[in-house]
C-alpha cells in the first residue's frame, strides 16, 4: 500500500526542486515569487500560527461538511420520494446555487455572528447542493425489479428505503461527498474573509495586506495539503465501505 505513493511523493519533490531551481536561475524577485525553501522555512517559523489556523479551518470545514451532507441527504431523499416536492423546491435550489455564495457571505455573518457558525453555514451550503442532487438521482435510479422483489417479501416503504434505496444510491452520494468536502473547504476559507481572527483564510488576508509572499505561499501549500488529505479520506472511506457499483 505504502509503495503506491512513492511516485506521487517523488513527483511532488521534483516539483519543489523545479520551483526552487527556476526562481534561482531566473533571479525572480522575492515579492513576485519566493523560493520553495523560503516558503518551507516560513511554514517552520510560523508553525504555531499556521497550526492554529489549520485546526480552526478544518473544524469549520468538517462541521459544515457534516451538516451539509445531512441536509443534502434529507432533501435528496425527500425529492426522490415526492416528485411534487421536487417540482416545488428544486428550482429554488437551482436559483440559490446560481447566486454566488460570496453574495450571501455578509448576510450570513450578520445573522450568525463573526464566530465559527457563519463559516460552518457557508461550508454546509456549498456541500448540500451536490449531495442533494446525487442522492435524489441515485435513489430514483433504483432497480424497480429489486423494489418489487422486496415488496413481495412484504417489505414496507421504510424497509425498501433503508435496505435498497440508500445502499443503491450510496456510490452516487459518495461521488457528491468527494466534491462536497472540497467545496466545504472553500466555503470555510471564504467565510473567514467576512471577518474573524483565526483560520487559514485570515492568514491569507494578512499575508496579502502585508505583502508577505513566503507566508502567502505557505498558506496556499497548507490549504492544498488539507484539500488533498480530505479528498484522500473520502476515497479511503469509499474504498472501504462503498465499493460496489449498482448492478442493473
Amino acid at each position: 500500500m505504502r509503495s503506491t505513493f512513492v511516485p506521487q511523493i517523488a513527483a511532488l519533490l521534483g516539483l519543489l526542486f523545479l520551483w526552487e531551481a527556476v526562481v534561482l536561475a531566473f533571479n525572480v524577485p522575492a515579492h513576485v515569487m519566493p523560493t520553495a525553501s523560503a516558503v518551507l522555512q516560513d511554514i517552520g517559523t510560523g508553525a504555531a500560527l499556521i497550526g492554529r489556523g489549520v485546526a480552526r479551518t478544518l473544524l469549520e470545514t468538517l462541521l459544515g461538511f457534516a451538516i451539509g451532507a445531512m441536509v443534502g441527504f434529507a432533501f435528496g431523499a425527500a425529492f426522490a420520494w415526492s416528485r411534487a416536492l421536487e417540482r416545488v423546491l428544486f428550482p429554488l435550489f437551482i436559483l440559490s446555487q446560481a447566486i454566488p455564495v460570496i453574495a450571501f457571505g455578509a448576510l450570513v455573518v450578520m445573522w450568525l455572528g463573526n464566530g465559527i457558525w457563519s463559516k460552518v453555514a457557508i461550508a454546509a451550503y456549498l456541500t448540500a447542493f451536490p449531495v442533494t442532487v446525487n442522492t435524489c438521482r441515485g435513489m430514483r435510479s433504483v432497480d424497480p425489479q429489486r423494489v418489487a422483489l422486496l415488496r413481495s417479501f412484504g417489505a414496507g416503504d421504510w424497509r425498501v428505503f433503508w435496505s435498497l434505496q440508500v445502499p443503491f444510491a450510496l456510490p452516487s452520494i459518495m461521488a457528491a461527498l468527494k466534491l462536497g468536502i472540497s467545496l466545504g473547504l472553500i466555503g470555510a476559507i471564504v467565510g473567514e474573509w467576512f471577518g474573524d481572527t483565526v483560520g487559514l483564510g485570515i492568514l491569507l488576508l494578512q499575508a496579502m495586506y502585508m505583502e508577505n509572499m513566503p507566508r502567502l505561499w505557505a498558506v496556499i501549500l497548507v490549504c492544498g495539503v488539507i484539500g488533498i488529505a480530505l479528498y484522500a479520506l473520502m476515497e479511503a472511506i469509499e474504498r472501504r465501505w462503498v465499493w460496489w457499483r449498482p448492478e442493473l
Binding site: D143, Q145, R146, A148, L149, L150, R151, S152, F153, G154, A155, R159, S163, L164, P167, L170, W244, R245, P246, E247
Partner: protein, 288 residues
C-alpha cells in the same frame, strides 16, 4: 376440484384430481384477466385464467414469449392487480392481489442479488424483512448452504460468484422465505445446458425434501415435463390457458426419463399446442 382453464369448443384433457377433495387448493384463480394501457393502446396480457394448485404440487407453465406468464406471476406475487371481476382465492380466502404481498415466495428471472450484501445476507433478506433478527436468521440459514452447494461461500459477495451459484443463492433466498406457494420464473433460463440439467434434478430433490408447492415458468418444454406434475400451456397474447396436461411419470425422475416413450408422448402434445400458438403469434406480428 382441480380446474385447468378449459376452453369451450376444444378437446382438452381434463386434469385429474391430484389432491383429495378434503384438501383445498393452495391457490385458486378464476376469471383472472389483465389489460394494460387505455383505448387504442390497450393490450390484453391475460384472459380468463382459471387455475388451481394443490398443496405439494409442482406445476410448470410453458408458452411463447409475451404470453403473459410473467404478468400472471406478478399478480400471484401481489405486485400487479388483476382486472376487476377476477377471483383469487389463496388458502381458501378470497384475496386482492396486493394482499398476497409477503405471502408468496417469488423468484424473478434475474437473481436480483444485492451487490453490497454477502451471500449469507442476501439469502436471509426476506427473513429480516419479516422482522427476524440477523442472528436468528443466520441460524436458520446455516444448514441450507451445503444443500444449495454454497458451503464455504457464505461470506462471498455476489460479484465473486458464477451465474449458476448466484442463481442458487436466489433459490436459497426463495426457499428460506417459507410460504405456501413458491413462484419460480425461468430460474435456469440463463444457465448452460449441463448446469441446467443438474439444477433441475437438484431442484426436484429440494422440492421433495421441503415439501413446497411450486409454480414454475419456463420456455423449455423438456424442463416443463421433466419437473412438473402438471404442465400448463399458455396461448400467445392474450394469454389464455390452452392445455393442461398431467405428467404421470414416476418420481424420483432421473435424466434418462426424457427419452422414455411416455415422456415423448407428452412432449408431442405440448409441442403441437405450442407450435399452433407460435404460428398464431408470428402471424399477428407480421400482420398475416
Amino acid at each position: 376440484m382441480m380446474a385447468g382453464g378449459a376452453m369451450p369448443g376444444r378437446t382438452i384433457p381434463q386434469p385429474v384430481e391430484a389432491v383429495p377433495e378434503t384438501a383445498p387448493p393452495i391457490v385458486e384463480l378464476a376469471n383472472v384477466s389483465k389489460t394494460f394501457g387505455q383505448g387504442r393502446q390497450e393490450v390484453s396480457a391475460l384472459e380468463h385464467i382459471r387455475l388451481a394448485i394443490g398443496r405439494g404440487e409442482f406445476v410448470t407453465v410453458v408458452g411463447p414469449s409475451g404470453c403473459g406468464k410473467s404478468t400472471l406471476f406478478n399478480i400471484l406475487a401481489g405486485l400487479t392487480e388483476a382486472d376487476p371481476g377476477a377471483s383469487i382465492r389463496y388458502g381458501g380466502q378470497p384475496r386482492a392481489a396486493k394482499e398476497l404481498l409477503g405471502k408468496v415466495a417469488f423468484m424473478p428471472q434475474r437473481d436480483l442479488l444485492l451487490p453490497w450484501r454477502r451471500v449469507v445476507d442476501n439469502a436471509i433478506l426476506p427473513l429480516q424483512v419479516e422482522g427476524m433478527s440477523r442472528a436468528e436468521a443466520l441460524k436458520r440459514a446455516a444448514p441450507m448452504f451445503p444443500e444449495f452447494g454454497l458451503a464455504g461461500f457464505e461470506k462471498h459477495y455476489p460479484h465473486q460468484l458464477s451465474g449458476g451459484m448466484r442463481q442458487r443463492v436466489a433459490l436459497m433466498r426463495t426457499f428460506l422465505f417459507e410460504r405456501d406457494l413458491t413462484l419460480l420464473d425461468e430460474p435456469f433460463g440463463a444457465l448452460d445446458a449441463l448446469t441446467r440439467s443438474l439444477m433441475q434434478r437438484w431442484l426436484l430433490e429440494v422440492w421433495q425434501r421441503h415439501q413446497r408447492t411450486i409454480l414454475f415458468i419456463t420456455h423449455d418444454v423438456d424442463e416443463a415435463i421433466f419437473l412438473g406434475d402438471r404442465v400448463v400451456v399458455m396461448t400467445a397474447r392474450p394469454g389464455r390457458i390452452k392445455l393442461v396436461l398431467d405428467v404421470k411419470l414416476p418420481r424420483p425422475r432421473d435424466a434418462e426419463i426424457v427419452t422414455s416413450p411416455e415422456f415423448i408422448q407428452i412432449k408431442r402434445q405440448v409441442l403441437a399446442a405450442i407450435e399452433e400458438e407460435s404460428l398464431k403469434s408470428f402471424q399477428q406480428a407480421t400482420g398475416g
